[in-house]
Amino acid sequence: MALPLRSDPKLTGRFYGHPAPRNASGGGAIVLGHRRVYIVPSRLGLLFGGTLAILLVGSINYALSLGFALTFLLAGMGIAGMVQTARNLAQLSVRAGRCDPVFAGEGAQFRLGLSNTSGFDRPEILLRHAASGAQTTVDIAADSATDAMLAVPAQRRGWLPLGRVMLETRFPLGLFRAWSYVEPDSRCLVYPQPEASTLPPVASSAQAGGARAHARGSDDFSGLRAYQPSDSPRHVAWKSAARSDTLHARSDDMLTKQFAGDAVAELWLDLRDLPASLGLEQRLSRLAGWVLAAERAGARYGLRLPGTELAPGTGGSHRAACLGALALHE
């Protein structure tokens, strides 16, 4: 069966007054016009058709009037099911939502707002990310909106556009498969994959110029910094490590107590400090790791990239700004 619900656009356009919106930019919703909903029988639907054919031939052969009636009722139900399957997607509106930045190697959680302005519910709608195959299934109640999360693997730093998303449904009978594509204007910022490494020694920072290390009195507890394999176990902040919600605390989750005399530095993290032999991506990864470590250590840190300089600071938004600069560095 071809696509019975695709009809002359001029004709239906006049009836429904809907252009088929591709991608309303600026956060607008994409409405799945019924001309963009495709439908074909599923494999189960073909089996259903075969069953009906057998029932029909049996009814003819044995001249069973009620056999005809039952077969035709099932056929009519198949037709009604086809229309309802298409309806389950038609006029659904999809809106791109916020996507929090993630590190490369993690899953970008794309949020899609699905809103159903109709008086019927739309169960079992599968969203499938065309490029990665990530998928999720949602039920949308009548006259309501719901959010669907698509976890798309983020491979590389930079902007990750969502791209095409397929919406598919087989409700209510499973005999037909209706689908449609949307391309919401949504992208996710992907930070470089942080490399677990020790913070740069203050000396090297100082050499690079601009880093001021405040030396304090000896033996006074002055703060925490990221654990380094060479740290004495007596200096590990075990209480903090125990609070960590990851079961298998990795070494870069552990903190080392710092005492005055250690460097609590105002760090400058500079791409040029790292040997060019490492390659750009690895250097950016190391810088990202340093940003995290510095943030954990409570240090004030600044970031210097060719063409970009972020003044020293601390806190969530500073961290995000630094990581964002690393992510988008050309």
Partner: protein, 664 residues
Amino acid sequence: MSSSAPAAIESAPLAPAARPIDGRDLLVLVAGLLIVVVPHALRAPWWLTLLTLALYGWRATALSTRGGRGLLPSSWMLLAVALLASAGVWLEYRAIFGRTPGIMLLVLFSGLKLLESRNQRDAAAVVFLTWFLAITNFLYTQSIPTAIGMFAAVGTSVLALVGFAAPRRAPLANLRTARRLLAQAVPAALALFLLFPRVQGPLWGLPQDAYAGMSGLSDSMTPGSLSQLTLSDAIAFRVEFQGEAPRRRSLYWRGPVMVDFDGRTWRLGSPGFADLQPPSDGTRFEYAVLLEPHNRNWLFALEAPASLPERARYLDDGQIVTLQPVRARMRYEMASVVEGTPNAAEASRNLRRAQRLPPGFNPRARALAEGWRDASKDDTEVLARAIDYFRRERLQYTTEPPLLGRDSIDEFLFVTRQGFCEHFSSAFVFLMRAAGVPARVVTGYQGGDLNPVDGKFTVRQSDAHAWTEVFLPARGWIRVDPTALSVPMRVDDGLARSVPASDSLPLLMRSDLEWLRTLRNNWEALTSQWNLLVLGYNPDRQRELMSWFGMRDADWLGLASTLLAVLGAFVLVLFAWMLRRVARPDPVQASWNLFCRKLGARGLVRLPQEGPRDYSERAASNLPSANEAIRRIAALYIALRYGNNASPGEVVELRRMVRELQIG
């Protein structure tokens, strides 16, 4: 924070093979299956019924253990059960491919398939099997109760299908969906039922036992065969007269004619096709017969036929036959003449055959007949003596006649003196032939009950009767009913009043159950409409209906194109109707569009790169008189469009403000 692992991809794939089935939906599936299997189970051998129910029970029990996945048998075990049970079916029926054994195997496989169902695809296959089993029930009966039961089963299985597709949805919502699906299916089903090009089956040879269980008259008559038949309350046919109906004593429905006798059994002769020669005088009655299938070629007609139904043939012994056995309920219209003068001509070959008797049987009856022959001057006088004999002898009429030996007619006439109509007619024809007068046994039905509800006559198997015809030169074949001669009440009042009260009769034939008869009359009037309109819809009726709609000589191409047009229109209308509540523009956007049009009319057309904020600012500074309203509308629009929580009240407010916006 950085270490949070990628969130597990939540997924419920839609491919049926990957979707496990929920216990709730499985129980619905079993319920549907039970409805279709119960009528079969009543016909099945007990062990098969028990085995099938055990298989269903096993699957249902497995639901409650280990989260629905416990205790299911291995496929080897299922195969072993399948083979053993198939062997059992073969032992029971000595066949695998007949109708009944085939259905029994299907019943069994439904249990096995259910037991191995673990995902949506398997369960859907069980649903399809349920439909198949539902239709096989119609091979046995297409009555109203069966129809209700099977359609209920289909509804149940559709609910199961919806459940498989949406296992997390509330059962009530799924029920509503299933109900809506079936309701929406009705118009399409009706169009298909009426317009689908019908062909007359069968398409291929049917199994030997395909029509077992259809009752009716047979092509031979032995003592006891008719009295067995009259114990059945089943309907043979129903008749609707146009206008007045004949009197009850004239209602002789002629069927197969028995000519050959071997001393015990009467058999059909070998009549040839002939032209119908209706009697020249008498009263003409026109009527329609709705004949139940009986798997024989003959049709029943009131004596004597004056016109033939379509596609029926007339035989020279007065039978009306079709070329194909009547295997589906059949309606035919014809006319008959009652109490007319029969045709006097008959081929001498047929007359000689109607005088033949096997030698060496029934010496006392022979002697009696020869005595009449000697004392009479012609055949008419012999007949008069015979009639007189039957009137005088007061032979007793009973549905439970004693068993008779080799000389059955001698024993009936002179020893037991009790018999049913086959004894009376058999003895009379024997006597006539022994006296040299051509005679034959005619079987058929006598009488019929008028149903006051719909004014139709119902003729039942219990009205089966046998009478005789005697040939007199110059007068032709004359009907003589020897039963009526001895027991006049049989013809005037029916069987129930003519036999002793101790004789067994169908329950509803007893005249003391008046209320039950009223109930039955209503039910049968309903059934008759059902038979005529639903079950009797065949290629002929379809042609009639089409010509009524102005399609003369509708061929299958015309029907198919009409059907496709109707179905196409149905799909479009259904889709438009189902989206009627959604097919309206977003109200927020509609208000904004109206706002832009109003400003555009004042020359302030929104530029393509202009967002709502810039546009409204430009408009507000250009139209100082309305700048307050313009700013408020834009702010509300931006909040509704890009904000997260829009309340319906705000949408209404935006529409009101845009509508009331006065510019200049």
